[in-house]
Amino acid sequence: MPSPSTSSLPGTPTHCPYCALQCAQTLTPRDTAAGADSARAGQDGQPPLVVEGRDFPTNRGGLCRKGWTSAEVLTAPDRLLMPQLRTPDGGFREAGWDEALDLVAAGIRTAQQRDGADAVAVFGGGGLTNEKAYALGKFTRVVLGSRLIDYNGRFCMSAAATASNRSLGLDRGLGFPLADLGGADAVLLLGSNVAATMPPFVQHLEGVRSRGGLMVLDPRDSATAKLTADGAGLHLSPVPGTDLVVLLALIHVVLAEGLLDADYVAERTTGLPELRTATAAWWPERAEAVCGIGAERIRETARRLAQASPSRGGRGAYILTGRGVEQSTQGTATVTAAIDLALLLGLIGREGSGYGPITGQGNGQGGREHGLKADQLPGYRLISDPAARAHVASVWGVDPDSLPGPGVPAVQLLDMLGRPGGPSTLLVAGANVVVSAPNAGAVRERLASLDLLVVLDTVPSETALCADVILPVVQWAEEEGTMTNLEGRVIRRRQARPAPGQARSELWILRELAARLGDASGFPTDPAAVFDELARASAGGRADYSGISHARLDAEGSIQWPCPGPEHPGTPRVFLDGFPTPDGRARLIPVEHRAPDDDVREQAPLHLITGRLLEQYQSGAQTRRVPSLLAARPGSFVEMHPLLADRLGVEDGEVVLLRTRRGETRAPARISEDIRPDTVFMPFHYAGEGSANLLTNDATDPLSGMPEFKMTAVEVLPVRSLERSPA
């Protein structure tokens, strides 16, 4: 179904398939573009679409290497073009859709007849469009009747979402347009490496860098931390697992030195006395011995933020959090402290200042708003709220009592698989959990214990290769829909070419399964129609999309939610008039630092941290299939400081063994002065030997279910010495 735009326009305006920045692109079929760009077209092996950056408020025409090469994934040599069924010898055979879908439906029926509705679980992904996320949530609750759905966004945004909802009454990611950052005097980036993960973002930091106000908290001298060099700002390098201590000390300094915006705090917040006492014990000199950042540097950071704040006549300040501080067993507490700090300085709900988490996945925002989360219904409604259930049930035309209750967060869900009382069938859509989940070795075992694993994917990802049934689905340039970017901006994804082979949209697959399991009437396959239903279901919810439609987006470009009516212009900046809490005030919430779950010890004396590379994305299922990206970053490695390498007796490129309580793996050492000598870093994009998540901790934050990816105690040994000694 080619979109109207492909026939009438030379290029299709859409957005990049990867991260939450959702850079605007124009896709042009290569033959059409040949005249315009003869240098890159007309050679064998070139992708079918030419990608160009398109001017948009977020990327201003820029793209990174992943975006420029995104079209190459469309024609990956191992692209899935037909359903695949597991054969008795452990391989796969191609099958027709009817055979595959009949088999899946029969498996679901058998499991549920035997063990009840929760015998089938669903695991979604933050890369799915709003329409697909919504339909998957509805399918789980209405057709399967199962409470067990969650998604990989749990690994991404759950801590920030939990904290934002608790403190501010709302989680919209950035509650302001990204471009607002450009006018600030100070930006504090906590655990985010945007220069590598979403490079065009950096354009918005130009202003604050020119004023010397970029402050970056990262154990590594990352590409983003380097942006603070030469007077552009400050880099704070904490001991991994101690980010919360830094924040508590910053709050302490703001209160001790009277730097707070007293009028704002009095009018717009509650909880100051409790926060005061909770942070009284974190004077900078005490924090210093825990986090390794000098007391004076902590004071300077607090003072710079305060000077930039509006109450002191500054141009404004922003505090932004990323996965580096959020992926922790105290992730919610850490984000809460960041919000506390922003509230004390009077930053939130004021034009030109603010707090926001930097969403990671392409539709990590929309996914968490419209039904992929275990405890939520569309519109960011709680599934445990009777009024929310009644509203959504009326849109869905079902009895509210027929809707299941809340399920369990991702790590817990994965751990239940195949166990007594746990689900025996799992549907995975848009996730590669055997690479991306913590303690991935255990996840692989859980998947193997299932009766039926169904994976919807575009390529044979590592998780798809564990499946009994693989269903081939379309990619971004082959479908219509919407995404919600990191600033709560709803944007259009448009089709630029037909789907290859027999790849189908998830919307079609869900309708076909619904038909086989009972009633397909609630599952239209036209994305615009699905969106209209989503909009109705979200009406009155926290994430209200009811005034948005595909047609309106096509006419206006993009709209930031909430948008409660067709005449409503959308909401670029939230909280300007108050907080959506019962009393209209934000909550200052005291939090406490506890050590990481698996802290360094005699047998594992080093900190293992994980993160992303510029040239790869998430589990690498897409980017490892782009030859130029794979050539740039062909495999996993362990980044370590020369002093640590010297201590271990390891040369650059030499393979080392890493051992944690979860497991062990090997990877070559990459020696770099950009990391603390007490810490090693691994990228998490790789499968098999060197896969970082074989090592990471699946302990979770009690409030959000966020696992502790970012700090694991590890032992590192040179393989050479192991092979020398007979033991």
Binding site: G61, Q203, D221, A223, S237, R276, E288, A289
Partner: protein, 557 residues
């Protein structure tokens, strides 16, 4: 279980709050003789220095119906036989377990004229003289302080240094008086003391060592001067007594419990004579000795809670001490970074001799000494380097492995250096080096594009994608355009012979792959700016290296 806590200070209040959280069956009564809520005494010197607001000192306390706090109620006796605490009103508080967290009092030296009432039981002091032990003291000191006024600070321990620098920061003319020749003699050796003295003098503080205060002068019952043992007279409107503390043991001693300097307790914080009575914080004297630091008291509180909590209990054995740091001493002085940690006589399990190296830079006001044993930092002193102080403190408390050659610890390598020097000009880069990180475009590829007719940054971006990501390299591209065109006009090739060797349009990925596989210098950075590393140190340092040359330790793997 009925638990009575005597003392509602920093340690007692935290213990009660933590125990209530961990043990829902505990019924806790806290007797605090002060009227106000617990507050952060550690920060009193920061209040005096004007760095902290007095309102920011209140500490968290138990918020639980399990905890009954009796403020302004002084315990006067422990009836061990009946297991009851008697308060000043005569009320009795039965306990199953009693925790003494009575803290300590300031030691008031015996200087003629200082006390209003010669009876040492009364703590009334002449106006203008004060210790710094509570908020009232801090307020008194601040009231007496002011630019141009004169102060004598008696005692150059940690608190004395903090108060002296704090008053100097308020513009006072400060004389710091110490009865020993060495400042902070429990922590500093003579060299470190000399450098500290120099740093204080640079802040305008007069340092008088080896002398004591022998008398005062006063007018209208207000201090006007202090006389020292060398006969000198120092006019002063304020004298702050930083002459140590005395653990509050009277209650325990009267109850027949063993008291030496403090209340004697075992590793489990219990008194040997009465297993139902425990002591934590400044009043306690544990086997390893009391440090007088709140970190030790808080760790004792944590361990006691953990040992008692049904959920956390690990068995009969005492809960091990937490992360090290009980003896980490950080001077919170304005304009003077000073931290000491550890003891060099603490032998490691292997029996390997500790290695000690030091950097001593009197003119620069810097001093760092580290002692390494079995691959861990066991002691250190840092003066005048905030970041080194921070990174060594973290390495010490977390016991993370340190570099094989301890000399590297002297030059702040443990944190990422960050924000270092200016980047090399793009014109001096090699062709293979990546200019646009976002798109992996090398300098050579950009120069090629310029040669091929892309004469400005926009055209280069279109041809190579360089500068189309984060955009931070656009200036460099512009520079390359200018330089390449200028060189071409002059008939020279600025990018050297590889221009010919380079492919017509090198795929960005190739360049990136080359860059990724190029070996990076693996050598550890030498502390090039370290002015001197000389051997030796105090007599208590058994081994030292005499130069920066690495002396390998035995392999640990």
């Amino acid at each position: 279980m009925r638990i009575v806590v005597i003392g509602h200070g920093m340690v007692g209040s935290r213990f009660a709050a933590d125990l209530a959280r961990e043990d829902p069956s505990a019924e806790i009564t806290v007797l605090g003789h002060e009227d106000h809520d617990p507050y952060n005494r550690v920060q009193l010197s920061s209040v005096v220095a004007g760095k902290a607001d007095a309102t920011s000192l209140a500490l968290e306390q138990a918020d639980s119906p399990q905890v009954r706090v009796l403020r302004g109620v002084r315990a006067v006796a422990i009836d061990r036989e009946r297991r009851e605490v008697v308060d000043a009103r005569g009320d009795r508080h039965p306990y199953d377990r009693l925790v003494l967290a009575t803290g300590s009092a300031a030691r008031i030296p015996d200087i003629p004229g200082v006390r209003i009432d010669p009876d040492p039981a009364h703590d009334g002091l002449i106006s203008g003289v004060s210790p710094l032990k509570d908020l009232d003291d801090a307020r008194r000191i601040i009231d007496a302080a002011g630019p141009g006024r004169r102060a004598v600070v008696l005692g150059a321990g940690v608190l004395g240094l903090e108060v002296a620098t704090g008053l100097a920061a308020r513009g006072m003319r400060v004389t710091l008086v110490h009865h020993r020749e060495r400042l902070m003699e429990r922590q500093l050796d003579p060299d470190a003391s000399d450098i500290t003295r120099g740093a204080l003098e640079r802040l305008g503080i007069v340092v008088a060592t080896g002398v004591d205060a022998t008398g005062i002068t006063a007018r209208d019952s207000r201090l006007t001067g202090v006389r020292l043992s060398d006969g000198s007279m120092h006019p002063a409107e304020l004298m702050v007594l930083c002459t140590g503390t005395v653990p509050a043991v009277a209650l325990a001693a009267a109850a027949g419990l063993d008291c030496e300097h403090g209340i004697v307790v075992g590793e489990d914080q219990a008194t040997p004579k009465d297993p139902a009575i425990f002591a934590i914080g400044d009043c306690a004297q544990p086997p390893e000795g009391a440090s007088g630091l709140v970190a030790q008291g808080w760790d004792q509180a944590r361990r006691l809670v953990q040992a008692w909590s049904p959920a956390l209990a690990t068995g009969a054995a005492p809960v091990p001490a937490g992360p090290r740091g009980g003896d980490l001493v950080r001077v919170k002085a304005v304009g003077l970074a000073l931290v000491t940690m550890g003891r060099i006589d603490r032998a490691g399990p292997s029996g390997h001799a500790p290695r000690s190296v030091r950097l001593s830079d009197p003119a620069g006001g810097r001093f760092t000494e580290v002692v390494v044993q079995d691959g861990r930092l066991v002691a250190a002193t840092v003066i005048g380097d905030d970041e080194a102080a921070a990174s060594l403190s973290a390495a010490f408390t977390r016991a993370t492995p340190v570099p094989r050659d301890p000399v590297h610890l002297l030059a702040r390598p443990l944190a990422v250096q960050g924000a270092a020097g200016t980047a090399r000009p793009v014109t001096e880069m090699d062709d293979e080096e990546i200019v646009c990180q976002c798109n992996g475009v090398s300098k050579g590829a950009i120069c090629q594009a310029v040669h091929a007719g892309s004469t400005n940054a926009g055209a280069v971006s279109k041809a190579t994608r360089a500068g189309t990501g984060c955009g931070t390299c656009r200036l460099q591209i512009e520079e390359l355009c200018t330089a390449t065109k200028a060189a071409a006009a002059a008939g020279a090739a600025p990018d050297g012979p590889s221009r010919e060797a380079a492919p017509v349009q090198p795929p960005p990925a190739m360049a990136a792959a080359r860059a990724a596989t190029a070996p990076e210098p693996a050598d550890a950075p030498e502390p090039a700016d370290a002015p001197s590393t000389r051997g030796g140190g105090g007599s208590s340092v058994p081994v030292s290296t005499s130069s920066a040359t690495a002396v390998p330790e035995p392999e640990l793997v």
